[in-house]
Amino acid sequence: MSELMELYQEVILDHTRKPRNFGSLDSATHRAEGHNPLCGDQVSVSLRLEGDVVRDIRFQGKGCAIATASASMMTEFLKGRRAGLLPEAFRRFQDLVTGKTIEPPEDLGKLMAFAGVSAFPVRVKCATLAWHTVKAALENSQQPVTTE
């Protein structure tokens, strides 16, 4: 498979064309906006925590195929998972897209499709934008404004 085909795998293109969990969550307990000033990509993430569990999560924004698919697949990945797992999952995802991973972390599941990004260093920012944003959203939770 060429590097290009590795990057634009069918699962990624599918999420680009039909983003899952797209929109804004009215009942969100956490929100954040992320943008990449260099290329103008924008994403906003809203999610509802129940206890430590991400009960629901949505994203909105405009961006390239990689940014959009990454946000879409990230929401699928995080939905129903414990928020406390996010830092570790994000670290593994970063290792994956920057090519630092030696052994593929199997628990990333479908997100492994982003391994192809590592051949395109300038696109790492696209792949991680939504993750940075969700991290920011959860870190704001230290101010107990929205946590039920």
Partner: protein, 423 residues
């Protein structure tokens, strides 16, 4: 008669021998991703011909010293070489006098210079500076800041959907409080060539001075500041096949003379005491500190190179490339050309349905084709066009028609990857 058999219209010779010119550019002989480099990002920065690289190298090796101060021959010669480039620039833009040419770091600094001196001096609360929707951030933000500082207002002349300036609205936007017009000669994002001479006349009828951002025009058009009658003209060395770090601010002598210094320090003073400092005459008043001497030497070599090739030939060649590219890309299904102004130069913006410009850029890069994707430092323009970003191919004297075809092939490949989008 034999002559009668000769067709009355002979096929025109191509304006440039591109194959030969390409050999002057070392980087174009290299390869990207195992493929020859197709460099279509000259609007961001042009590649450098060997004579520019060699002139700078030779100057460092044989002619270098500081300027305007040495008592020794080497410094005098360096000073002469530096000042000779000022005269080359004067001829390049047809300025009346060489003292109207100020060396700066680039277009951005040239604009900041005028904002920080003339605009700061003249702007009173409630006064206005007029720009257009087409501007690069560097012709917006300096004015915005000076307006904030002085309590002024930044006004914006709108464009039509095709990327042309709405001249009637421009004229209406020129009011009794307008103190300066700042306008791009050629739009870096869409390639629109603005009718600058006409806009200057309109502004001058109201005694409003005009600064022209020529960064994108100088490599493509024969610039004549006297014919334009603009008050200031700014351009960058690195976009006219010269080095980075050097650019030009042209200003009418009368205006420059009335302006306070920009940066201050050595080189720009006549005498300094702790009580009082007096400043040099123009243009030296605006060139504080040791300038980019070798950059200026490189710029001189670039202008010589452009002169030898001939800007008219370059303009004709690039015009053909632009028509060819417009036609070739418009014929790819799902591609839309952004900016269809009647007069364009050097730049072709487009969007591919279902594919973001970054993805287009990545896929083309795999084909060895370098283009730009993004907002092109013109976010207000993108907002006006309702687009987050575009892809932009831009042309230089070294680009060939075969490269335009490779661009079109690359865009077809983008469609192959993204094209099955059910829309």
């Amino acid at each position: 008669m034999r002559r009668a058999t000769i067709p009355s219209v002979q096929p025109a010779a191509p304006p440039l021998d591109v194959d030969r010119l390409r050999r002057d550019f070392p980087i174009l002989c290299g390869r990207t991703a195992g493929k020859p480099l197709v460099y279509l990002d000259s609007a961001a920065s042009t590649q450098k011909p060997a004579p520019v690289i060699e002139a700078m190298n030779a100057f460092y090796r044989e002619g270098y010293s500081n300027i305007h101060r040495g008592l020794y021959a080497l410094s005098q010669e360096a000073t002469e070489a530096y000042e000779e480039v000022r005269c080359k620039v004067q001829r390049f833009i047809n300025a009346r006098e060489s003292r109207e040419v100020v060396f700066v770091r680039g277009t951005t600094e040239a604009i900041n210079l005028v904002a920080g001196t003339l605009a700061r001096q003249r702007l009173e609360p409630g006064d206005e500076i007029l720009v257009s929707t087409l501007e690069h951030h560097s012709n917006i933000v300096p004015w915005q800041r000076i307006c904030e500082e002085r309590g002024g207002t930044l006004r914006v002349a709108p464009i039509f959907d095709n990327g042309e300036l709405d001249l009637a609205s421009y004229e209406r936007a020129l009011g009794p409080r307008t103190r300066l017009v700042a306008i791009a000669h050629v739009s870096n994002a869409l390639g629109t060539v603005n009718p600058v001479a006409e806009m200057v006349r309109t502004a001058h009828r109201r005694e409003v001075p005009v600064l022209v951002d020529g960064a994108q025009a100088a490599p493509h058009l024969q610039v004549d500041v006297q014919a334009l009658d603009c008050d200031f003209y700014a351009f960058s060395g690195h976009k006219v096949y010269g080095p980075t770090g050097v650019g030009v601010l042209y200003g009418k002598a009368g205006l420059l003379e009335a302006m306070p210094p920009y940066q201050s320090g050595g080189e720009m003073i006549l005498s300094v005491s702790f009580e009082r400092t007096s400043y040099k005459e123009i243009p030296y008043r605006f060139e504080a500190g040791t300038p980019d001497i070798v950059g200026v030497i490189g710029l001189g070599a670039a202008l010589d190179y452009l002169g030898a090739v001939g800007l008219e030939n370059i303009a004709a060649h690039e015009g053909e490339l632009l028509s060819h590219a417009t036609e070739a890309l418009a014929s790819v299904p799902g591609v839309r050309i952004v900016g269809r102004a009647g007069r364009r130069a050097g730049v072709l913006s487009f969007v591919v349905e279902g594919a973001h410009p970054h993805d287009v850029g990545t896929i083309l890069d795999q084909e060895g084709i370098a283009i730009r994707g993004g907002h092109h430092c013109a976010q207000p323009l993108m907002e006006r066009l309702g687009l987050p970003a575009t892809s932009r191919a831009s042309f230089g004297l070294y680009n060939s028609h075969a490269e335009v075809d490779r661009l079109a092939d690359g865009v077809r490949k983008v469609r192959e990857i993204f094209g099955s989008c059910p829309s």
